[in-house]
């Protein structure tokens, strides 16, 4: 990373490859850097002197959730425990394989452990003529009928998503929207971005087909308890930043493997000010840092969001004051700038303003990371402020039906009553597409907005490894909706402060 990226008062860290991995050491947990950078990392406190066995050691919220789920009073990072699963989610890409393994291992006539704890959400390859993709949704439907699964968000008529009353769209957003995310619970999904649900103060992580097949039959899984990295984000959020900037900032610091097999806990006044959708964006990309899960403590914002969405009781848990963290990182958010992740890695962070000479071919706003209602509201805000037309094709893929509806019904603040869709049309964006994962990971060749040629794209999605979004030589700049909209207006990677 160029040192010019950091101002002298920047309260952050260069990547800490030599980060101490012991939660029980007072060893410095970052490499000394001979620059005027305020270093506020605090090593995990020395272990409390042991006393009689009856004294309970303090735990982080992740440790507490897993302790409760495994019916243990106490556990510690590194413990391997069988946990009871509250929700298992699967979709069209991994559901058929998980079902195949379940039947092979438990028998053709076996029943799932609990028909109300399995949530099946087709979302990946929906609007395509690919026969196998369509067949995979059929497999899900057959299984759900056979097992009488309560929550199956089906789609049959691909020509018009609106005539499918049960269809939702992207699983991670639908889970939250439909009240399947509850503080203190364990949610597993066959998708790496399942960690999104950690925004609700629960343990949520991605698993593979085989593990999912195991959960289908037993409702349990063997999990190793992760140590926790703590990220304290304080200060008022500038009006040109979104939580995508925060998480790209963090991944740029700790790298794509910096949180491997760790939990990432987000606290601080900035985090407390974030909406649920913004918290979801933050937790969504912890897997891009290698994280096992991410968590935001549940608070009144969480409870208010969940009102009317779930009737099941839930019990939040919180990190103890004396809980031990592997490391603590502190950020003064008011000093941060809009950032992007350059090709071909989510940790290839750069300031947006330093990429102003990068000419782009298109902009994509969508996915579980950047296709929620507030993501589109943010883009509309930039378009409104500019009063100009976009200079490159600008694709809009709402994450869910509800988000799509919001684009056509909710007024954009300061617009005199205009909706997002009206603003998007005025500036020349493509019409909002059918809700799904869309081109985030490429998918079948006829996927809307898939990068079938080696082009340059600014995208609100979550990954930019080679081949992501379709073409092996495509170049994807990951960005916030503000930055994506600003870039669409100029045809270059653009810092949204030019318009806001």
């Amino acid at each position: 990373m160029a040192s010019s990226l950091l101002s002298p008062s920047f309260t952050s860290f260069l990547r800490t490859k030599d980060l101490s991995l012991s939660a029980f050491t007072s060893q410095r947990c970052f490499k000394a850097v001979p620059r005027k950078i305020i270093r506020c990392a605090i090593a995990a406190p020395q272990r409390q002197p042991s006393t009689t066995g009856s004294v309970r050691t303090a735990m982080t919220m992740t440790e507490k959730i897993l302790a409760r789920a495994s019916e243990k009073a106490q556990l510690t990072p590194g413990d391997n425990v069988w946990v009871n699963v509250d929700i298992l989610m699967t979709h069209d890409v991994c559901g058929p394989g998980s079902i195949g393994i379940f039947k092979r291992e438990f028998g053709e006539d076996a029943k799932v452990w609990d028909r109300e704890k399995l949530v099946i959400i087709p979302d990946h390859y929906i609007f395509t003529s690919d026969e196998r993709a369509n067949r995979n949704v059929d497999i899900l439907r057959d299984f759900c009928h056979e097992q009488n699964i309560k929550y199956f968000y089906d789609i049959k008529d691909l020509s018009n998503f609106k005539v499918n009353p049960d269809y939702k769209g992207v699983c991670h957003v639908a889970l939250a929207q439909e009240g399947h995310c509850r503080p203190g619970e364990v949610l597993l999904g066959t998708d790496s971005h399942t960690c999104t649900a950690g925004a609700f103060g629960q343990f949520a992580t991605g698993i593979g087909n085989t593990d999912a097949g195991f959960v289908l039959g037993t409702g349990k899984l063997l999990l190793k308890v992760p140590p926790t990295l703590r990220f304290v984000m304080d200060g008022e959020m500038p009006d040109y930043l979104l939580s995508k900037d925060l998480i790209l900032q963090i991944i740029g610091e700790i790298t794509v493997a910096g949180a491997t097999y760790k939990s990432m806990e987000f606290v601080g006044t900035t985090v407390e000010s974030l909406t649920m959708e913004e918290r979801m964006t933050l937790c969504n990309m912890v897997v891009e840092a290698g994280g096992k899960n991410g968590v935001v403590p549940a608070d009144s914002t969480t409870f208010k969001y969940l009102e009317g969405k779930t009737s099941l009781p839930y019990e939040p848990v919180y990190s103890d004051d004396q809980a031990r963290f592997l490391a603590e990182y502190r950020f003064d958010v008011s000093k941060l700038e809009p950032v992007v992740a350059k090709p071909h890695s989510p940790d290839n962070r750069a300031l947006a303003r330093e990429c102003k000479d990068v000419k782009i071919d298109r902009v994509y706003i969508g996915s579980c990371t950047g296709g929620k209602t507030e993501d589109f509201m943010a883009a509309a805000k930039v378009f409104l402020a500019s009063g100009k037309q976009v200079k490159v094709p600008t694709f809009l893929v709402p994450a869910t039906q509800k988000v799509w509806m919001d684009l056509y019904s909710l007024p954009v603040p300061g617009s005199g009553g205009k909706t997002c869709s009206q603003i998007f049309e005025e500036v020349g964006c493509d019409t909002p597409a059918s809700p799904s994962c869309g081109a985030c990971l490429g998918g079948p060749k006829d996927t809307y907005a898939r990068m079938n040629e080696p082009k340059v794209c600014v995208s609100t999605t979550n990954r930019n490894f080679p081949g992501r979004m379709g073409h092996k030589e495509g170049q994807i700049y990951l960005a916030s909706p503000y930055t994506a909209a600003a870039s669409a207006l100029t045809g270059y990677v653009t810092d949204p402060r030019e318009f806001l």
Binding site: K17, D18, L19, L21, G78, N80, V93, C94, P96, G97, I99, G100, R104, E105, H124, Y125, D130, R132, A133, N136, I139, T190, D191, S192, T194, G206, I207, G208, N209, T210, D211, F214, G217, T218, L222, L223, K224, T255, V256, A257, T260, Y261, V287, G290, K292, H344, S345, L441, G442, G443, P444, K445, R463, F465, P466, G467, R468, G470, K472, E473
Partner: protein, 245 residues
Amino acid sequence: MALFSSAATVLPRNLAFTKLSLSHSHTLLPRFLSFPTPKSSNPRNRVAVSLQTPRAQSAASASPSASFHGLCYVVGDNIDTDQIIPAEYLTLVPSKPDEYEKLGSYALIGLPATYATRFIEPGEIKTKYAIVIGGANFGCGSSREHAPVALGASGAAAVVAESYARIFFRNSVATGEVYPLESEGRLCEECTTGDVVTIELGESRLINHTTGKEYRLKPIGDAGPVIEAGGIFAYARKTGMIPSR
């Protein structure tokens, strides 16, 4: 893109399995690769795997005294799941035998063109490389099990990487598709694609016969009992967690 220096700290392996002593309940003949002869492609000698049988009963259930032998294919750091198996092939369902094989034919097809020597040669459906050697953070990205399955289905027996993404490692162990091993150093800078190598599990050692050098591998650790058992289902049965079939 090399994101780490040669001196990058190697993170310890983290995997959610209980430490138990390794058992010797399985034996497996050493796997040897015959080199292609002019009249046939990939005439490999390897343990036959029934399409109806989980691969867990072959590669990953190798006993500690077993070894893997063959040509190695070398890749760099942060080889993500999209490079291992691009998203357009995820419509294939790995639990269906014919689709399992097809999935294997696309293994590592997502690698950039800078990898001039391809893992699976054009026109072939199996790889001639028994061992994949990677750098840091192998298998980062998705939790899709398709990635280790594609490697296993292609004929790769083991991956030796400096470090792994959590979920790829876990999926390799849970499925038994490929045997994931961690090296003590950066073997991706020591070996070249096409080198003939042997992995001796019992000795935790990799021998590069082409260069004549030997390298230490890390013991399997937490994941050992699950690998020994042949995957998460076999382990759960062995420990009485679920009834035997």
